[in-house]
């Protein structure tokens, strides 16, 4: 509309600074415009503007758009979670309970259900900040969630590739997760897929892919890993490949390491058996190819350069090799190590070896050694949960210099009911005694609530009768403990409406 444009231009500059445009416009506004008095420029301008505005707005019609609509989301194949159960997610996020959110998401995916649509934005936004939750999120968002994730930059981690073809063209967390899942179901196919694009991948992608090879690692992967040691350009990739090969007890790399260390480490039998160690003097090229680093600053514990080389060699060898070679059990070997002048590097080396080849007997002995205390959590958590429980109970009864809950709380993952009851028993004996509270105990108790089996929620609530002297201090801890257990119980039962048991 010409008049409107003229009015706009005039008003921008100001009616004082420019003469008014002619207030005419062909059409139904003409008789009304004729009534305006040009001697009052401001009033006329505004009145004309009002007429134009009203006319334009009341005659507005939407336009038709012929552009094709974007593709819609595919129909869902999995049933949606009930609304009552779904309501827990916003509450858990508000309470800032990261581990519980993870537990909830995992339980939903295990129950073969998906999140209802109204929670998709909440959960995708949560995943942008909390990277550890992404695999669990991907499992419950369904087709709609993936469709939605493709529309927003910060959610692209969830726009998972569905086929191997897409994998070759995409990047990021979704791609890594796809590879991980493929590796878990079909390890051969996964490795072959990796090999097709291996040469063109950037360093970070190669590292991430190798990490995924940890799942179902087997001797079938050996040729590929050996070729990495020979050909890969990146130091980090080579050392990761070497570490992976060291986790395979029957690999050629381990055999080579054994050959290298045999002359350097001997058990001298006799009335007072002892270990005899000859430190290597140099790191040969073949050793470096196999991942032995010639840099003593890398070790966590201070030790000399040659000692560090020896330690790395020892770390590559499955600890049970020594049991078979010498016929001693882990406790005896560790005892010998402690007496040796090279105690530090022996313990460190065997600790690393136990991490690569988890074994509950070795772990139990090493967990009692203070000098490898920086490894304790890793040693414990390398074991499967049932073995962790076993080791923890063993240590609680035998080791007296640590507080009881120190060992009990170290067990990660979801505890079994039997273990939960053991913990409750010991807990009860502590709180009903009048002993003063160690502030660390406080922290461990609160931390345990996340691992404690929720099916024992009622039993837990029934047992809390603290000693009157310490009741005031224990009460808030117990309240918090019970609150979390009860919350977990409620949220899990809501996900499975038909089942009584968890």
């Amino acid at each position: 509309m010409n008049l409107w444009r003229n009015l706009l231009n005039n008003s921008l500059v100001g009616s004082r600074n420019q003469p008014l445009p002619p207030l005419t416009e062909p059409g139904p506004l003409t008789p009304l415009l004729a009534q305006l008095d040009p001697a009052q420029p401001e009033a006329s301008l505004l009145s004309a503007a009002a007429l134009c505005t009203q006319y334009q707005q009341t005659s507005f019609v939407p336009v038709q758009d012929a552009t094709p609509l974007p593709e819609a989301a595919v129909a869902e194949t999995v049933p949606a979670l009930s609304l009552a159960a779904a309501d827990y997610l916003p509450r858990l996020i508000e309470l800032d309970q990261r581990l519980l959110v993870l537990e909830w998401l995992t339980a939903v995916s295990a129950s073969q259900q998906r999140l209802p649509f109204h929670l998709l934005v909440t959960v995708l936004t949560y995943g942008t900040l909390h990277v550890e939750a992404r695999p669990a999120i991907l499992a419950v968002i369904g087709h709609r969630g993936r469709w939605l994730a493709r529309k927003k930059g910060s959610w692209r981690y969830a726009a998972e590739p569905a086929t191997a073809v897409e994998w070759q063209q995409s990047s990021g967390t979704a791609r890594h997760l796809f590879f991980q899942q493929l590796r878990q179901t079909n390890p051969e196919e996964a490795r072959q897929l990796l090999q097709t694009t291996w040469d063109t991948e950037p360093v970070n992608e190669r590292l991430a892919a190798l990490e995924s090879l940890r799942f179902n690692l087997s001797l079938a992967d050996e040729p590929f890993l050996e070729s990495c040691l020979d050909q890969d350009r990146s130091n980090k990739v080579r050392s990761l490949a070497a570490r992976l090969l060291a986790c395979l007890p029957d690999s050629q790399l381990v055999a080579r390491m054994i050959a290298r260390i045999r002359p350097l480490l001997n058990l001298v039998e006799g009335a007072q058996p002892s270990l005899q160690i000859t430190l290597p003097t140099a790191v040969e090229e073949a050793w470096q190819r196999d991942g032995i680093e010639d840099n003593y600053n890398r070790s966590f514990v201070a030790m000399g350069r040659n000692a560090w080389t020896f330690c790395q060699l020892l770390a590559c060898i499955p600890p049970n090799f020594w049991l078979q070679t010498w016929g001693k059990n882990p406790a005896q070997l560790i005892e010998l190590a402690i007496q040796n002048e090279h105690k530090v590097l022996l313990l460190e080396g065997w600790a690393e070896a136990t991490l690569r080849h988890p074994d509950p007997d070795w772990a139990a002995v090493l967990l009692q050694q203070e000098s490898v205390s920086h490894r304790h959590r890793a040693l414990m958590q390398a074991l499967p949960v049932s073995q962790q429980e076993q080791v923890a109970l063993q240590l609680v009864d035998t080791v007296s210099n640590k507080p009881k809950f120190f060992w009990l709380a170290m067990v990660s993952g979801q505890w079994s009911e039997a273990y939960g009851r053991e913990v409750l028993d010991r807990f009860r004996s502590v709180i009903t005694s009048a002993s003063p509270i160690d502030p660390l105990e406080w922290r461990w108790v609160a931390g345990m609530a996340v691992h404690f089996p929720p099916s024992l929620a009622d039993e837990a609530a029934a047992l809390w009768q603290p000693h009157p002297d310490t009741a005031v201090a224990w009460q808030p801890i117990l309240d918090q403990f019970n609150q979390i257990i009860r919350l977990r119980y409620d949220m899990i039962t809501a996900i499975h409406p038909q089942k009584e048991q968890l």
Binding site: L12, G14, S15, L46, Q57, L69, P70, A73, L83
Partner: protein
């Protein structure tokens, strides 16, 4: 009247996000010394930082909160957590007889409401004083309107570009003087105009449109006696003359089943206004409730989204019937699981244009829209209907997009002449609020 409350509905009563978090932490039965319910009332005692446990109560028939804690928020975290407990674990509230303090509170509340009613009746009973007050107000408003006129002409005279460079004071002072002149409606429009300077592309066009509307209002005020009564009501409402609720309730009403389309809150100068949009299922027309609260309290609405209430609504006077009051106190509620019949984009826009033609100061109207698809592309967000008409969407309604998944769905949204603001959408058997 609430017989059941979902956790989501309970959360809607919270004044802010921090209250929700605090109330969640308290919503465990072990933290409460006692928890009870009876017909239409929830109550409990909770241990707090004071010596005595706090006494908290919530009425359900006309939602109201009481707590003896020193917090100024309404509802405080204790009252809110009581409601949360009722919504998720109602069984932990045992049935019991109403205790003394709770019935005292209810009685005091009823007495206060009766007193307010009688006070209103009293002021009506003194027409002379009323007339004097009205005359004084008219004088003030006239002065305010004259000031506004001078300010408008000055603005147009210097030009919009020069005006854009003016400090915020230039706008806020004018608004403040209009508030002093007892013309809050004009003050609000001036404040809105101030914000337009920063609205990006096309700001000058929007600014000129708004100034033109203000000018129309000024001229309308001058010629008030010459206008037909409906148009007079439009001008007076836009300027900000209050109308007594009794006067509105005395007008003829429209009975229908009113679907609550959704809520929206506007905050300005510590005044919180809640817009509740309704749609008459049979009369196929919209209605609007406005509720106000000051400072940190949230306006509490008993009309929950997704429900249809059988009620009689009395409409405020004006050329277009939009703002209304309910004659029925606690109407029966029916939750709708099937989407209501909605309009196409063209029909809705046409209906809005008709209303705008009657009342040029109409700001926005909400409608139910059928079979629309939200779209996002590099140019922005849009709504498209089955006939391929496309209109812009306000903001970034990701939840709406999630509910749609690219498929058509029925939604409720507010149209302001330029953009749709989505209020709620039907998905998986429920009307979900988006705001």
């Amino acid at each position: 009247m609430l017989t059941t409350v979902t956790p989501e509905q309970a959360r809607a009563f919270a004044p802010d996000a921090a209250s929700v978090k605090a109330a969640e932490k308290l919503a465990i039965p072990t933290k409460w010394v006692s928890l009870h319910q009876s017909e239409q009332l929830l109550w409990g005692t909770c241990k707090g930082s004071g010596k005595e446990p706090y006494q908290t109560a919530v009425t359900l028939n006309e939602v109201a909160f009481y707590c003896s804690c020193p917090s100024r928020k309404i509802p405080c975290k204790h009252a809110l957590s009581l409601l949360f407990l009722y919504s998720s674990q109602a069984s932990c509230l045992t049935t019991a007889d109403v205790p003394g303090w709770a019935s005292e509170w209810q009685a005091a509340r009823t007495a206060r409401q009766a007193k307010a009613a009688s006070k209103r009746a009293e002021s009506v009973a003194d027409p002379a004083a009323q007339a004097k007050r009205a005359a004084k107000r008219q004088q003030n408003v006239d002065k305010g309107v004259a000031l506004l006129e001078r300010w408008l002409y000055d603005l147009i005279g210097q030009g919009l570009i020069a005006a854009q460079k003016q400090p915020p004071r230039y706008w806020h002072e004018m608004a403040a003087r209009l508030v002093d002149a007892q013309a809050p409606g004009l003050a609000r429009l001036v404040q809105q105009t101030a914000v337009l300077r920063f609205s990006g592309d096309g700001w000058h066009e929007q600014l000129l449109q708004q100034l033109a509307r203000l000018h129309l209002l000024v001229q309308g005020s001058y010629r008030l006696d010459q206008l037909p009564p409906e148009r007079q009501a439009d001008v007076r409402t836009a300027v900000g003359w209050p109308i007594k609720q009794e006067d509105v309730l005395a007008l003829p009403s429209v009975a229908d089943e009113w679907l609550v389309m959704g809520h929206r809150t506007e905050e300005q100068d510590r005044l919180n206004t809640q817009f509740t949009w309704l749609w008459g299922q049979h009369t196929q027309q919209p209605a609007l409730f406005l509720e106000f609260a000051y400072g940190k309290t949230a306006p509490v609405s008993n009309w929950l989204a997704g429900g249809a209430y059988a009620a009689e609504l009395a409409f405020y006077p004006g050329s277009v019937r939009l703002r209304a009051l309910s004659k029925t106190d606690a109407p029966p509620r029916q939750t709708l699981t099937v989407a209501t019949d909605g309009l196409t984009l063209s029909t809705a826009v046409a209906q809005f244009n008709q209303m705008l033609a009657q009342n040029p100061w109409l700001e926005s109207v909400a409608f139910p829209l059928a079979d629309v698809i939200p779209i996002v592309d590099e140019t922005g967000w849009y709504l498209q209907d089955a006939a391929h008409y496309r209109l812009p969407l306000h903001g970034e309604p990701w939840t709406l997009l999630a509910l749609s998944g690219g498929h058509p769905l029925t939604i409720t949204a507010e149209w302001n002449g330029a953009r749709w603001l989505s209020l709620a959408a039907w998905s998986e058997g429920q009307l979900r609020t988006l705001v």
